[in-house]
Symmetry: C2
Subunit: 295 residues, 2 copies
């Protein structure tokens, strides 16, 4: 269900321009009008990374909370945002709004999902919980998405007694996402504030803006920005999104079943299936509709 | 460190009036200017309880996030807010802002603390974590408060394999809070959205507004409200705070080492020490200062 937006940078960056376009899809240029959420990882003066979140069950294009985010620029190292079109789980329930957050080994992990898990995955995983076999994490709301997130984190803690190396972690997350993707339609963004992990089950694109910076025009509104005016030559900002936000830049599509991890705006890990498949946006939307999700 | 504000009601209620006074203490009428946080438990159409949180490291009296909360009234069943004066943990680190949240058995638990844990509690509990003996919850930030919260939740999960009865739970929390209070200065508010648990180690007051409703005048600003104009005869709203917010209502002080739990605005559990002690506000402030905390 829904659409994803992520950002990962090497310098604290305001996501305002991308968010301005993205929030229009929550009721104005598209139908994802059942609320939104956004999580910002910000750096303190001494370099510690802290998280804050905003959620609203109003459509994002007219939400006063979304207005605040545009008017009170927050400079963040990592951002995950999500606009919701409810397919599974009650609409007005705040517990059903992504991104979902859990603490893992003293880190805040943020997760947002686009897709739809199968009925069989849902009933199987709910049974695990009912039988007390999902020791650490339990969903609060009623979405298939939070269930998938809890499944993944319970597997993580069952597999590793303490935080493994990033390499082992990314390989583990890749394997788990492929398992989840085999049990539903599954696109996701995950961040611990340091890295951002993107997995495409159908549609996901990214773009890295760096010097020389140019102008960008939003697809969802009359807005252009010349990033050359707002950046320094060292800045590197990667934006990840379900459907490209601008109409004059070259977005890189993530292949079906591909994982890409970003840190400081760069790709630091990639796992691509031997046979690369890219869905057209039309096919991605049709696939989502066919399983009762939405893009 | 800091001050606490809680609300527990039998009908969705806007905390605006109390928050208007409380936020002035974050830099204007008092010195708690190192950021604030507020968590709202709201009811969905079908009665499910969902949580949303707002944090800002700006002083609450001038924070745009606090402005939003005043201008975009959120009607909630339970609220916990906290204004911070940093004594332990970096000031600008968002991870050090209360309230802290963890998922427990599929519920969001919100916690805010006023006080200061002893150096010996901190080093002992940090050692537990370093040795891998704190299985479920680990602090993200660097405050003694989040450490105490994680300690309490790890004890909870070690003691109960699944959610016990409310009676057993409140008795457990009372015992744990007394233990924490013996290891520092410890006042806290805890809510799972359904009940709100208040423990006083030094200063904590509450007030239940119900019919016949009267007028209330803020202590921290020129503002009065006649609750008769805003409520129905069935409404019951309890406000809990470190130092009373109004100057013309009768606030009930919670005794030192007393636990009170509220549900639907009513007291549903109370555990009072055999010898009741009440600190004056002056003595409470002096006690906080003497241990390096602030009220």
């Amino acid at each position: 269900m829904c659409q994803l937006l992520g950002m990962n940078c090497n310098t604290p960056t305001d996501i305002g321009f991308s968010f301005t376009g993205f929030r229009q899809r929550g009721g104005l240029t598209d139908h994802h009008e059942d609320g939104f959420g956004i999580a910002f990882f910000e750096k303190s003066e001494s370099g510690n990374i802290g998280l804050r979140q905003f959620h609203d069950n109003k459509p994002s294009y007219l939400s006063p909370v979304a207005d605040l985010i545009n008017h009170y620029p927050i400079k963040a190292m990592n951002v995950i945002a999500h606009i919701r079109r409810a397919t599974t789980g009650e609409k007005s329930n705040l517990s059903n709004l992504h991104p979902f957050v859990r603490e893992v080994w003293g880190e805040q992990w943020v997760f947002a999902h686009n897709g739809q898990m199968t009925a069989s995955f849902i009933s199987r995983t709910e049974r695990l919980h009912a039988n007390g076999n999902a020791e650490h994490y339990t969903p609060v709301g009623t979405t298939d998405s939070e269930l998938a997130f809890c499944y993944l984190l319970n597997r993580l803690k069952a597999t590793f007694k303490s935080r493994p190396s990033d390499e082992a972690l990314f390989a583990f997350l890749t394997a788990q996402c492929r398992y989840l993707s085999a049990n539903g339609l599954f696109n996701c963004l995950i961040s611990n504030g340091n890295w951002q992990f993107a997995y495409a089950g159908s549609l996901l694109f990214y773009l890295t803006r760096k010097a020389p910076f140019g102008e960008a025009n939003l697809s969802d509104g009359e807005m252009s920005v010349n990033f050359g005016d707002l950046t320094t030559a060292k800045d590197k900002v990667t934006v990840i999104v379900t459907i490209p936000l601008t109409n004059n830049e070259k977005w890189q599509q993530i292949a079906v079943d591909e994982c890409v991890v970003f840190r400081d705006g760069d790709v630091v890990f990639k796992n691509t299936p031997s046979k690369k498949t890219y869905l057209s946006i039309e096919d991605g939307i049709a696939l989502a509709r066919s399983v009762g999700a939405s893009v």
